[in-house]
């Protein structure tokens, strides 16, 4: 896509590695967080039965949630590192749009979500849209 023209001060592979690090850590974080929330159950129902404190307790006692947040924090630092070497006009759209696609793949593989044609189309449309908006 736009990779060949990127990062005048960085090589192709180092740029691709930095963007891949952002995408992978972010995807792992999103998938772990989604898995945590699915294992907890519908928060609206929990809140209806146990109140807001019960809902917060349900989230904060789930180890998977903290694993997800940990990876999202890693993704944030990977993004900061990438921004240190690469232009924001490359890092922001590339990581945001690639993350949508990797999340669709990870959702299908790890969360066993039914990613049908409608969801693939949506992910690709939003992915191209994010790229056009942020580029």
């Amino acid at each position: 896509m736009m990779i060949p023209s990127l990062a005048p001060q960085s090589g192709f592979w180092s740029s691709a590695t930095m963007i891949a690090a952002v995408v992978l850590t972010s995807t792992t974080g999103e998938v772990l967080t989604a898995a945590a929330m699915k294992s907890i159950g519908d928060l609206d129902e929990i809140r209806a039965h146990s109140g807001m404190k019960g809902a917060i307790r349900a989230v904060l006692t789930c180890p998977l949630f903290f694993a997800g947040v940990g990876f999202l924090a890693l993704a944030f630092f990977a993004l900061l590192l990438a921004l240190n070497y690469l232009p924001v006009s490359l890092v922001a759209p590339a990581s945001a749009s690639l993350t949508l696609v990797t999340n669709a793949i990870a959702g299908k593989l790890f969360l066993h979500e039914n990613v049908d044609r409608r969801r693939w189309t949506s992910a690709v449309l939003v992915c191209i849209g994010v790229y056009l908006l942020a580029h």
């Binding site: 992978l24 995807t27 792992t28 999103e30 998938v31 772990l32 967080t33 989604a34 898995a35 945590a36 929330m37 699915k38 294992s39 907890i40 159950g41 519908d42 928060l43 609206d44 989230v59 998977l64 694993a67 990876f71 945001a96 949508l100 999340n103 669709a104 990870a106 959702g107 299908k108 790890f110 969360l111 066993h112 979500e113 039914n114 990613v115 049908d116 409608r118 969801r119 189309t121 949506s122 992910a123 690709v124 449309l125 939003v126 191209i128 849209g129 994010v130 790229y131 056009l132 908006l133 942020a134 580029h135």
Partner: protein, 148 residues
Amino acid sequence: MAHARLLPRQYLVLGLVSLCAPLGDSCLSRGMTHLPPITLAHPATLVSAVFTPWIAVGIALLIGFFASYLTALSWADLTFVLPATGLGNVVIALLSHYWLHETISLERWAGIVLITVGVGFVTQGPSLTKRPNAHAPEIAVIEQPAVR
């Protein structure tokens, strides 16, 4: 696949997911640009920045985003919720056009249209994949390859 049509309050939660993040980012951006440059030599200035009005509002909005995002993930698939977060980019672009009077290029308008169509497309479908035992964490399987 599932069924699960969204209730009005669930659309509200998705709306909050889409709105809170871009508004929070905008508040943080506005707050930070009004501050003098912050260096690691004076970390206290960073702490005091948290208590300035725009940044405090921005942080509150981002907490609201995370809470509504987690709520949405508790009753909808990740591949359903994520495209909705993309709508935030549209909100930012429209705010910058109508509020800050910035010019939006044809390319960006095309991006806005694509995201809107993509989000509209996915929300017409089912929000949750049906599973035999909804709360049995087959999730536990997600594991470690990604984690390591």
